[in-house]
């Protein structure tokens, strides 16, 4: 097996991975950096993020407020020391992006503009029209081309982490073009491979979001934290599931049920604010979990709009006017017309909550280090946790930058503490190769990738949705266990080497099944409702027993072991999340 040596190997070349690579190249120009991704960097799902990235810069804003909004928005499951670090670094990172040439939208005086966003008390979301993630990704990617020390391995699928003597020593990856396995011998590994939304039937996530990085760490013994917290973004297109940014509401768009009523006021987010003049942190600018949950209730009451793709609500942006929509929401308009046949300038657009983001992921500390020496993680695949039980929109893009850089610096510190790097772990590499060979050659099992995947997606959609129940979760746990068993009978149709997407999708399915089981097992064990995890059988928040993070430990063929870890509480004691207009008047 060909061996490629590097000092640091980064898996994933989206916002977090690229930011880590840039931080390493800047801090240590002689460092050998291997940037490994199963897709070309510009295809990373960061490109689909629309609304913006949060960071305090306006004079009327304060770090303390960003802290408060984030911790409250996370229903007090966020580690407050991590949030403190995050909000401090946020403006610096966004500014660094600007210095790298990111085309942020501007105020008339030339300063960076900010827009309102859900759950934020004040405007602090930097944006680039409604393609913020796209512009951030391309700025990072183009800047990375400056550095010869960043050696890219595009279209390499990482299959296993190599662990020896309790240290992560690199990974194996399939060069997709040839089908050959490569051994990446590295002093440290940073995982930045994104989330796993594709385990659900209906998601904003692109095809590549299959939880591979999470699974890599998980199988190497690192726990997955808070996996039960899956975010539903309130406004996805009913036809494709793709995203209409929260900025639609930030710019003044409103949500209506089939009676034309702005129903959020019936769910603790009222009173109704004037049309076109949204008040932050209330009504349509409430947090994502509350808004999605409100829709679920409206559906039950029969107030949802019926479309050929199922129930929906209406996102009305007509009052914004064509000029504002074309200036600030051009992608939204294009997508509504193309995929729904609706022009938001003329008609309200049907939307519905869609799986969007995983608050949970690879357990890391505040410095992006996992419990496995030499392994670091950042971005959606990681869980620090700053997002707690529910993420506020526009915190994620900033998170990529802050923790991408933090992971890089931590990996550098680790390398320095280790001295000369002792490579090898060839035995583990050969074992990884053997696993793939076995899958390729396996015959007679009868299960297909598409078949198992469909059953998984259906189970998750049915039982691990916005509202869950004990019975439903138990059924989901049993189903996932069954699917993981049947996975061993997976039979490939394509046994060739060159760009074998049957094999790649089979491996991605394996990642998703492992992650999905962690999600439902953690959800079943958490007998309370908090943030995005809502249970009909345990509708209240239970701080006495559950002000703790879930930790799911891989147990091979068995169900994961679930343990808990206290949340770090510093300044903000758990309180009531108030998104009614009351707080606005109180703090005015």
């Amino acid at each position: 097996m060909e061996t490629i040596s590097a000092d640091v190997a980064i898996v994933g070349a989206g916002g977090a991975g690229l930011r880590a690579a840039l931080a390493l190249a800047d801090a240590a120009p002689k460092l050998r950096i291997a940037l490994i991704s199963k897709v070309y960097p510009m295809r990373s799902h960061t490109c689909a993020a629309e609304g913006g990235a949060a960071g305090v810069i306006k004079p009327d804003d304060s770090l303390a407020q960003h802290f408060e909004d984030t911790v409250g928005g996370g229903d007090w499951l966020s580690d407050q020391d991590a949030v403190e670090y995050f909000i401090h670094e946020a403006p610096k990172e966004l500014l660094q992006l600007e210095h790298w040439g990111c085309p942020w939208s501007r105020e008339p005086d030339g300063s960076v503009a900010v827009r309102p966003f859900g759950g934020m008390k004040l405007m602090r979301t930097w944006f680039a029209a409604d393609k913020s993630g796209f512009h951030i990704l391309h700025t990072l990617f183009q800047t990375s081309l400056k550095y010869a020390s960043i050696r890219r391995f595009d279209e390499y699928y990482a299959t296993d982490l190599l662990v020896e003597d309790g240290r992560c020593r690199g990974l194996t990856a399939i060069e997709m073009r040839s089908g050959q396995m490569r051994h990446f011998d590295a002093g440290a590994v940073i995982l930045a491979g994104g989330g796993a939304g594709r385990m659900f039937a209906f998601t904003t996530n692109g095809a590549i979001k299959t939880g591979d990085a999470m699974a890599l760490a998980y199988r190497a013994g690192v726990p997955l934290k808070d996996m039960e917290f899956v975010q539903y973004h309130p406004t996805g297109l009913p036809s494709t599931g793709t995203l209409l940014t929260e900025a639609c509401r930030g710019e003044g768009g409103v949500l209506l049920n089939r009676h034309g009523r702005r129903f959020l006021q019936d769910y603790g987010m009222g009173p109704e604010t004037p049309l076109g003049h949204p008040v932050l942190k209330t009504m349509e600018l409430g947090p994502r979990d509350r808004v999605s949950q409100a829709f679920w209730h409206e559906q039950r009451k029969g107030n949802a709009v019926s479309t050929r793709w199922g129930d929906a609500m209406l996102l009305d942006m007509r009052h914004l006017g064509e000029k504002k929509i074309d200036e600030r929401l051009p992608l939204v308009r294009d997508m509504s017309i193309s995929y729904m046949g609706v022009d938001p300038v003329k008609d309200p657009v049907p939307v519905r909550p869609v799986v969007h983001y995983m608050m949970g992921g690879i357990h890391t500390d505040i410095k992006a280090a996992t419990p496995l020496a030499g392994l670091f993680a950042a971005g959606e695949c990681a869980c620090v946790s700053i997002n707690g039980a529910n993420r506020l929109g526009s915190n994620s893009l900033t998170e990529l930058l802050v923790f991408g850089r933090r992971a890089a610096l931590s990996s550098l510190e680790y390398l320095e503490s280790q001295g000369a790097h002792r490579g090898a772990a060839e035995g583990a590499a050969e074992k990884a190769l053997g696993r793939i060979r076995e899958l390729l050659q396996r015959a007679g099992g009868g299960e297909s990738v598409a078949g198992l995947r469909k059953e998984m997606m259906h189970a998750m959609e049915q039982h691990a949705g916005i509202y869950r129940s004990g019975e439903g979760l138990a059924a989901a746990c049993a189903k996932l266990a069954e699917l993981r068993r049947r996975y061993r009978n997976l039979e490939l149709h394509d046994r060739t080497n060159v760009y074998n997407t049957d094999l790649l999708q089979a491996l991605e399915l394996g990642s998703m099944l492992d992650c999905a089981e962690a999600v439902v097992q953690s959800a079943a064990a958490r007998k309370e409702s908090r943030g995005a995890h809502q249970r009909l059988d345990f509708p209240e928040r239970d701080d006495r027993n559950y002000l703790r993070h879930s930790l799911a430990y891989y147990r091979g063929a068995e169900a994961p072991g679930i343990d808990y870890r206290d949340v770090v509480i510093t300044k903000s004691k758990p309180g009531v999340r108030d998104y009614s207009g009351e707080h606005a008047r109180a703090h005015a």
């Binding site: 897709v39 070309y40 510009m42 295809r43 990373s44 799902h45 490109c47 689909a48 810069i57 500014l95 600007e98 210095h99 790298w100 040439g101 085309p103 942020w104 939208s105 501007r106 008339p108 005086d109 030339g110 300063s111 960076v112 393609k131 796209f134 512009h135 391309h138 183009q142 800047t143 081309l145 400056k146 595009d154 073009r177 692109g206 095809a207 590549i208 036809s239 494709t240 793709t242 995203l243 050929r308 793709w309 992608l331 294009d334 997508m335 193309s338 995929y339 297909s448 990738v449 598409a450 469909k454 149709h493 394509d494 060739t496 060159v498 760009y499 074998n500 997407t501 049957d502 999708q505």
Partner: protein
């Protein structure tokens, strides 16, 4: 039901590419990508192609659909009658089925030095850039690197060394950014014979661009800027610092 005729090629088993026909259900809200996914899931798992976002922002799914370069995720089957022919993006070597080798394109992007070379160090905070200054180059930032323009460009088809629409547009994007002072550094590449001057303004690139970047406009603007620069250099050399 509709028929897809898809190019298949596996270098391990095929001497040359062949076509395979698939019958898929007709759904009036489907795009060609949905039809391909149906083929892969229900009929033939060996079919290989790139895709991800399904919203025309990642640039993965560029292919020839009835001989026109298109994004499979934004091409609606309802707009076609008869058999829909699906082939890999033209002017790039075929790796496997609908997957092309895009090394040339990626290398060319890097060659134009597509990063900010600041005119001056920023004072405090951000560079000031008015909305008008942003507007000047904004359109050229929208390229999703889908390479439809390279498939449409006959120059690129005839002269593989040509830098190509997206790469030149990317250089122009940075040149026009008010914060940037790197035009001279990028000049060598884009003013070269195989740079902007290889373009004969066919304009096909702009016609097929799904993001309305208008690379043809960018290239002509580059030509004009280069010409003005040339005259300045030769007729008014004292202007050079």
């Amino acid at each position: 039901m509709i028929q897809l005729e898809v190019l298949r090629y596996n270098p391990e088993t095929d001497q040359e590419p062949r076509f395979q026909r698939y019958e898929v259900p007709f759904r009036d809200d489907w795009v060609v990508l949905d039809a391909l996914n149906h083929v892969k899931e229900e009929i033939d798992p060996t079919l290989s192609y790139r895709w991800s976002c399904h919203m025309a922002v990642c640039g993965s799914c560029g292919m020839m659909i009835n001989a026109e370069p298109k994004l499979a995720c934004k091409t609606f089957v309802r707009d076609y009658s008869g058999v829909i022919r699906v082939e890999p993006l033209r002017h790039f070597p075929v790796e496997r089925d609908l997957i092309t080798v895009i090394d040339d394109f990626v290398a060319k992007l890097a060659r134009v030095k597509p990063w900010l070379m600041p005119k001056e160090a920023p004072a405090n905070g951000e560079y000031r850039q008015t909305p008008a200054q942003l507007k000047r180059y904004k359109q050229f930032t929208l390229c999703i690197n889908c390479m439809l323009c390279y498939a449409a460009c006959p120059e690129y088809g005839l002269i593989p060394g040509y830098l190509g629409p997206a790469a030149i547009t990317l250089a122009h994007r940075w040149n026009r950014d008010s914060r940037d002072g790197g035009r001279e550094a990028r000049q060598e590449e884009i003013a070269a014979k195989e740079g902007a001057w290889e373009c004969s303004f066919v304009g096909a690139c702009s016609e097929v661009c799904p993001e309305h970047v208008d690379p043809a406009a960018a290239i002509q603007q580059v030509k004009i800027e280069n010409t003005v620069d040339w005259y300045k250099d030769h007729l008014m050399p004292w202007l050079k610092k």
